[in-house]
């Protein structure tokens, strides 16, 4: 009998206390005991360079430095990713005594709750809150929703707002205020009520969870349904409602997954243009409408903070705001306050302020936030990285299995220590109490379940924690649950909140698998299930065993065998026998290993085996201490040869035949399994290289989720549907038989299968091509659109205008430049003619996507990896040649709304290609003309002198006049001095022959005096323009402009001064008279005093 715990070594109430998921709910001691350093985050922002290390200490050092007078730090992360944790840690860590530190929690997530909290925490400003947000208390929930809605409708009306949003004309065009006016809309539309409930906290934080209180596309679909039977106020409104009706159908057919994810939003905007614009219009007016309901003035919050800052000056205010969504309704005003930089204000009346604000990626991507505040973020901390699907951010600090285990261990230690012991420890310098240290089971327990820095993982093991964690999925697909909060609520909570199940022999019971772990993830292969069923007849125990193998070990058919590990312990399904014993489960294996040849089981072929597992020890023996290496898992696909052999037993083949037969008869079962096999056939067996479907297209239009058998799921246009026909069922059957039992087939059977398999592949090839053709946009004449050529030309035009390539460079060099990561521009696009910079700016946000697409389109993969190896230069060569010759881009399809979400990026490519094509051809001539104009101005300004001599001459007279008349045009003089200093710094005033001044003189001479012949051909002209000293020309132009301005101003001043002559004359006679009167009076007095009068 093993010496292992049979009961839980913690208490449920301690678990509940420590696992309080909101960072601010639990006690200080629990917080410190479970604090998991936040590291490896990404940092951006205008002052990100101040953060020396990308961890919490680095951030603290940067923000708390005594010379920081203004900081606006944004902590971006998915809900539950640790934003609050980091912000609370900053609160505890902040040790600058003179700073006034205010922490505003999320609590119920409502604006009202947040304002109440602020009221309690703002010292001495309580009175300012009297009446603030008081109006809402007089209204019922329905009243608030109705008033909010009425305010919104009024705000859509022309002339209602003093500063209407820019879309006011659009709203008026379709009479939107009248469209929304009918009473039915107010009564039936649920969106206003939902938003008011979120803002008022009536929905509660559990339900809100950082949801944005905003209108979304679904709201428009609901609105459209309400509006459909109602009369429209105008013919234009009728057309608008018709468009809305069309779009609403599309919106309703979207899955949650398609609606979520920041990457999808732009594609949705293009597809549902009218609905998206209506959403924008409503959201743009939301804050004003909410403020009216709550009785908040738009300036109230700002005034309150300004007052506080005046009173605090010169101390520093540190404002830590856990969640910006809790401020929705006044969030714009709040952010206006936070970005007010005391360093740039003329009045030195406000105290310095450091603010740290938590927000989600969805909020961060909001158009209003992007447009107004993004550039003003001083420190942008991103707690996660976009995951492989691009939809959600993976939490950086929990990216690896090791980190997940470490995180869980800190909670296990704190929960076992219990509330009282934690409180008496109190976060002091001693280590966190670890009950494992004095536990009699320690040695055996740690050996069986694993440990992390002395903390036992019981009842989990090193496999279970990451395996459960990576299975977490938000059932609504609105966010990721693979976050610290997900770990607590979805992995640790279900087990640790129910310690009795271990003693009761029920562990691992069904409840350990939360609703966040999809059912399909929990399933185990049939073979393993049958093995369990053969050994155990109790269904409850069977299910416990299935969970054990699935999460604590391996449920793969190949692993369902008895092995011996290096400690001499037997395992089945890679789970140690002692764990079966500890949980009171029957041992599934034999009493000796299956390959018992007297030595250990052969090691995997490489350090990282086929499933991405790290080798356990020097023999490569599997071990419970192994952790899935996520990076390996992500970055490397296993070679087909390395994949474990998966024997499909005859019974399983028969079962598949039955499933296929049911499907053919129109009554499919186990459709997921069927579709998985169908996808495998399409994705892994078709000769894709021969199909002329680029990898970029293939990986988007043909994924496991998009390949389905007819009738197994509701099919949308994006699905590649295998028809319910014999060739499909026979092909799949043949595929399985040939794959899994090929050598056991007799000749006839083999021939029959080979024919069916070949026929299926041929048919699939044709249908795959047809499907791709249907979904990919085509040119106007129906011809195939050469994607790679367009991407090449868009990127090439950008590269030319950024100066990293010239149209005269050899084609191979240009090709290399556009495929490589973008370097810093050398052509100073911002200083060129407007259309030059506009063309570059147009692709600023999309060139990365185009480049990735192009790399994928031209990639000639080597081996099984998709990494860029050799690029097919033939695709690009012609595109480069054509663009260099004509400066026109190849034809592109018309941009339509019908682009499916998966290839929405093509919409950007079409848009960018069109805009680049419209501008590129005109850019060289316009820039040439601009240079000529500048040359003319500079030449006149120099008055025949060299740059050096002219600057000296101008400076001499400006200095002379401004010294004698300091009041003469002081701003113009200061501006000139700055410009002159800049010229000096850039070497314009050096007497060198080769300085920038000389470059400009040569250019001006060439353009004006020597009548230099400029190239006619656009490529040569652009090349010449790229080499022209444009920066020097612009700098000198600005300086000479400043000089001329100062000269003009000073001339006016001096001329006026001289024409006015001396100030009005006084009179010597008046003065002399006064003196004489004084003398006379004094003489008279003296005479009297001397007695002579």
């Amino acid at each position: 009998m093993t010496d292992l715990p049979r009961t839980a070594c913690w208490r449920a109430d301690d678990a509940r206390h420590v696992l309080a998921t909101e960072a601010l709910e639990g006690s200080e001691a629990a917080f410190l005991a479970t604090h998991f350093p936040i590291t490896d985050f990404e940092i951006e922002g205008t002052r990100s360079a101040e953060v020396e290390t990308c961890d919490e200490e680095g951030l603290y050092d940067a923000l708390s430095s005594s010379d920081v007078r203004h900081a606006f730090c944004v902590v971006e992360g998915e809900p539950g990713s640790g934003k609050s944790h980091l912000i609370r840690w900053l609160r505890g860590r902040w040790s600058i005594e003179d700073d006034e530190v205010l922490l505003i929690q999320r609590l119920d997530g409502s604006l009202e709750g947040t304002l109440r909290q602020l009221q309690l925490k703002l010292p001495g400003l309580e009175a300012r809150f009297e009446g603030f947000a008081a109006r809402a208390q007089d209204l019922t929930a329905t009243g608030q929703a109705n008033e909010f809605f009425s305010n919104l409708v009024l705000a859509l009306r022309h002339g209602h707002l003093t500063n209407p949003p820019p879309d006011q004309d659009w709203c008026e065009k379709f009479s939107l205020d009248q469209v929304l006016h009918p009473a039915e809309v107010m009564e039936r539309w649920s969106a206003p009520r939902r938003i008011v409930e979120l803002l008022s906290g009536r929905k509660g934080d559990e339900d809100r969870d950082q949801d944005l209180a905003r209108f979304v596309l679904d709201d428009i679909a609901e609105l459209e349904e309400i509006l459909r039977p109602l009369p429209a106020p105008s013919p234009r409104a009728v057309r608008f409602l018709r468009e809305l009706q069309k779009e609403a159908q599309g919106i309703r057919s979207l899955t949650d997954e398609e609606k979520s994810g920041s990457d999808n939003q732009e594609a949705l905007r293009i597809r549902f243009e009218n609905s998206a614009q209506l959403v924008d219009a409503l959201n743009a007016r939301r804050n004003g409408a909410v403020q009216n309901v709550l009785g908040i003035s738009t300036e109230g919050l700002k005034e309150m903070f300004d007052t506080l800052r005046r009173e605090l000056a010169p101390r520093r205010l540190v404002l830590l705001l856990e969640d910006i969504t809790a401020w929705e309704g006044v969030d714009n005003q709040l952010i206006d306050v936070l970005v007010t930089n005391v360093e740039t204000r003329e009045d030195n009346d406000l105290c310095p302020m450091v603010s740290v604000v938590g927000l989600t990626p969805v909020y961060f991507q909001d158009r209003h936030f992007q447009a107004n505040y993004r550039q003003r973020i001083t420190h942008h901390v991103r707690l996660g990285h976009a995951d492989s699907s691009g939809s959600f951010q993976e939490v950086s600090s929990l990216r690896t299995g090791d980190a997940q285990v470490r995180f869980a261990a800190s909670y296990l230690r704190a929960i076992r220590a219990g509330r009282e012991r934690l409180e008496s420890w109190g976060g002091g310098p001693d280590p966190v109490p670890n009950t494992c240290d004095g536990c009699r089971y320690r040695t055996e327990c740690h050996a069986a379940f694993g440990e992390e820095r002395g903390v036992g993982l019981f009842p989990f093991n090193r496999q279970a924690i990451p395996e459960l964690y990576k299975s977490l999925v938000d059932p609504t697909h609105r966010s990721t649950f693979q976050t610290p909060r997900g770990m607590l609520q979805g992995v640790l909570g279900p087990t640790l909140n129910d310690p009795y199940s271990i003693a009761a022999g029920e562990y691992p019971k069904a409840t350990i698998v939360s609703s966040w772990i999809p059912e399909e993830t929990q399933r185990i292969p049939t073979f393993t299930a049958e093995t369990i069923a053969a050994k155990c007849h109790d269904e409850d125990v069977q299910e416990r065993l299935a969970r054990l193998l699935r999460f604590w070990g391996s449920c793969e058919a190949g692993a369902a065998t008895t092995t011996l590990d290096d400690t001499g312990e037997l395992r089945f399904g890679n789970v140690r026998r002692r764990i079966y014993d500890a949980f009171g489960l029957p041992w599934l294996g034999e009493d000796h290993p299956a390959h018992d040849d007297g030595g250990p089981t052969p090691p995997p072929r490489s350090e990282t085996d086929a499933r991405g597992w790290k080798a356990g020890d020097e023999h490569g023996q599997p071990s419970d201490d192994r952790v899935p290496d996520d990076r390996t898992d992500r970055n490397k696909r296993p070679n087909r040869a390395d994949r474990p052999f998966r024997p499909v037993r005859t019974a399983e083949l028969r079962r598949f035949q039955e499933l296929l037969s049911r499907w053919r008869s129109g009554a499919p079962r186990q459709t997921e399994q069927l579709n998985r096999v169908a996808a495998e056939l399409v994705l892994e067996r078709l000769p894709w290289n021969r199909l002329d479907i680029p990898q970029w297209v293939r990986t988007r239009l043909f994924t496991r989720d998009l390949i389905i058998l007819e009738g197994t799921r509701q099919a949308r246009s994006t699905h590649f549907v295998l028809p319910n026909e014999d060739w499909v069922s026979r092909g799949i059957e043949a595929f399985l038989d040939l794959r899994d039992a090929g050598s056991a087939l007799d000749r006839n059977e083999l021939e029959r299968h080979l024919r069916a398999y070949a026929a299926a592949l041929l048919e699939l090839e044709a249908r795959v091509k047809e499907h791709a053709k249907l979904l990919l946009p085509a040119l106007e004449d129906g011809m195939q659109w050469p994607l790679a050529a367009t991407a090449t030309q868009v990127l090439l035009a950008r590269a030319w205008l950024r100066g990293v390539a010239s149209p005269l460079d050899p084609p191979w060099q240009q090709w290399r430049n556009i495929l490589a990561a973008e370097e810093e521009a050398t052509s100073a696009p911002q200083e060129r003619v407007d259309s030059w910079n506009e063309t570059v700016e147009r692709t600023r946000g999309s060139h990365g996507k185009h480049r990735t697409m192009l790399q994928s389109l031209v990639n000639l993969p080597q081996g099984d990896t998709d990494a860029l190896a050799f690029a097919d230069a033939s695709i690009g060569a012609q595109a480069i040649e054509e663009l260099s010759q004509s400066f026109r881009l190849s034809r592109v399809p018309t941009l339509t709304e019908n682009l499916v979400t998966q290839i929405a990026e093509l919409g950007y490519l079409i848009r960018d290609a069109n805009e680049t094509d419209q501008r590129l051809g005109k850019v060289p001539a316009r820039e040439r003309d601009r240079l000529k104009r500048l040359a003319l101005i500079i030449d006149k300004s120099l008055r025949g002198l060299s740059v050096h001599d002219h600057v000296q001459r101008v400076d001499r007279v400006i200095e002379d006049v401004s010294n004698r008349l300091p009041n003469a045009a002081p701003r113009a003089v200061d501006e000139w001095k700055l410009r002159k200093a800049e010229l000096g710094n850039l070497g314009f005033l050096d007497p060198d022959e080769d300085g920038p001044g000389r470059d400009v003189e040569d250019l001006v001479d060439g353009l004006l005096v020597s009548e230099m012949t400029l190239p006619e051909a656009q490529a040569e002209l652009l090349d010449w323009l790229l080499r022209a000293p444009v920066r020097s020309l612009n700098v000198l132009h600005l300086a000479l402009n400043s000089a001329e301005y100062a000269i003009g101003e000073l001339h006016h001043f001096v001329a006026t001064f001289l024409s006015e002559g001396p100030a009005s004359q006084g009179s010597f006679r008046e003065i002399q008279n006064a003196g004489e009167r004084i003398t006379t009076a004094a003489s008279l007095m003296l005479a009297i005093l001397r007695g002579s009068r």
Binding site: R964, L1058, G1061, Q1065, E1070, G1075, A1082, L1086
Partner: protein
């Protein structure tokens, strides 16, 4: 700057503004000197305007000094003389202002004029007040005494009124001539009242006694039989008491 702007810098008068500015800059030093001189004269002129009240005060004080000089003590007279000498010097300096240097000196003297006038005013005002008190101060007591005696009650009231009006001269801001005229009138009236007192039987002894009493300088030896008799006849003995 646009091409058009640049043209404007060159073409306003057919000349280059830079060249024009250089030309104007040459004229600046002399123009600035002239401006500075004008500024100084104007400033001094303004100081004269501001000093007008002090000069007028000085002229008034000269008139008052004639009336008040007897009340100035010897030491005070010496100090006053010194202060007036300084004023005389200041007047000389100011009246000599004719160029930049003398203008500076005049401005400086003008700036110290208010303090100097104030010093002189303090001494002469005090002397004037002493003169008025010395001449009319006793009338108040005499008037009150005579009002206690039925036969001289009306006369006493007149003398008291005279006293009140005369004493007000101390603080009147009239010019010196007006003050001198008023002073002389009040003196004449007082002499007339004294003569009226003699007409109601008051011999010189009685009048001397009553005046002495009013001036709190009466002695027992002044209470002669005639004085006693005059007071007894008017039932006024009880009005007097002996004091040290």
């Amino acid at each position: 700057m646009t091409e058009a702007d640049l043209q404007a810098n060159h073409d306003t008068s057919g000349e280059d503004l830079l060249e024009m500015l250089e030309g104007l800059a040459v004229r600046l030093p002399e123009a600035i000197r002239e401006r500075d001189a004008g500024d100084a004269l104007r400033a001094t002129d303004e100081a004269v305007v501001q000093a007008e009240a002090d000069i007028a005060m000085l002229e008034r004080l000269a008139g008052i000094l004639t009336l008040a000089q007897e009340s100035i003590g010897a030491d005070e007279r010496v100090r006053l003389q010194e202060d007036v000498l300084e004023l005389e010097h200041a007047g000389d300096v100011i009246s000599a202002a004719a160029n930049a240097q003398t203008l500076d000196a005049a401005a400086e003297e003008l700036s110290s004029l208010p303090n100097r006038v104030q010093l002189v005013e303090r001494v002469i005002s005090r002397a004037w007040q002493a003169r008025v008190d010395g001449t009319f101060g006793a009338s108040d007591g005499l008037g009150r005494v005579l009002q206690e005696i039925p036969e001289t009650r009306n006369l006493g009231a007149k003398i008291s009124r005279l006293h009140a009006e005369a004493i007000a001269l101390k603080h009147r801001q009239d010019d010196a001539d007006t003050l001198a005229e008023a002073f002389a009138q009040f003196q004449t009236q007082l002499s007339r009242f004294h003569a009226e007192l003699a007409r109601v039987g008051a011999s010189k002894e009685v009048v001397d006694f009553l005046v002495a009493v009013s001036e709190r300088e009466s002695r027992l030896d002044m209470v002669t039989d005639e004085v006693r008799g005059w007071l007894f006849d008017r039932n006024a003995l009880r009005l007097f008491k002996i004091s040290l």
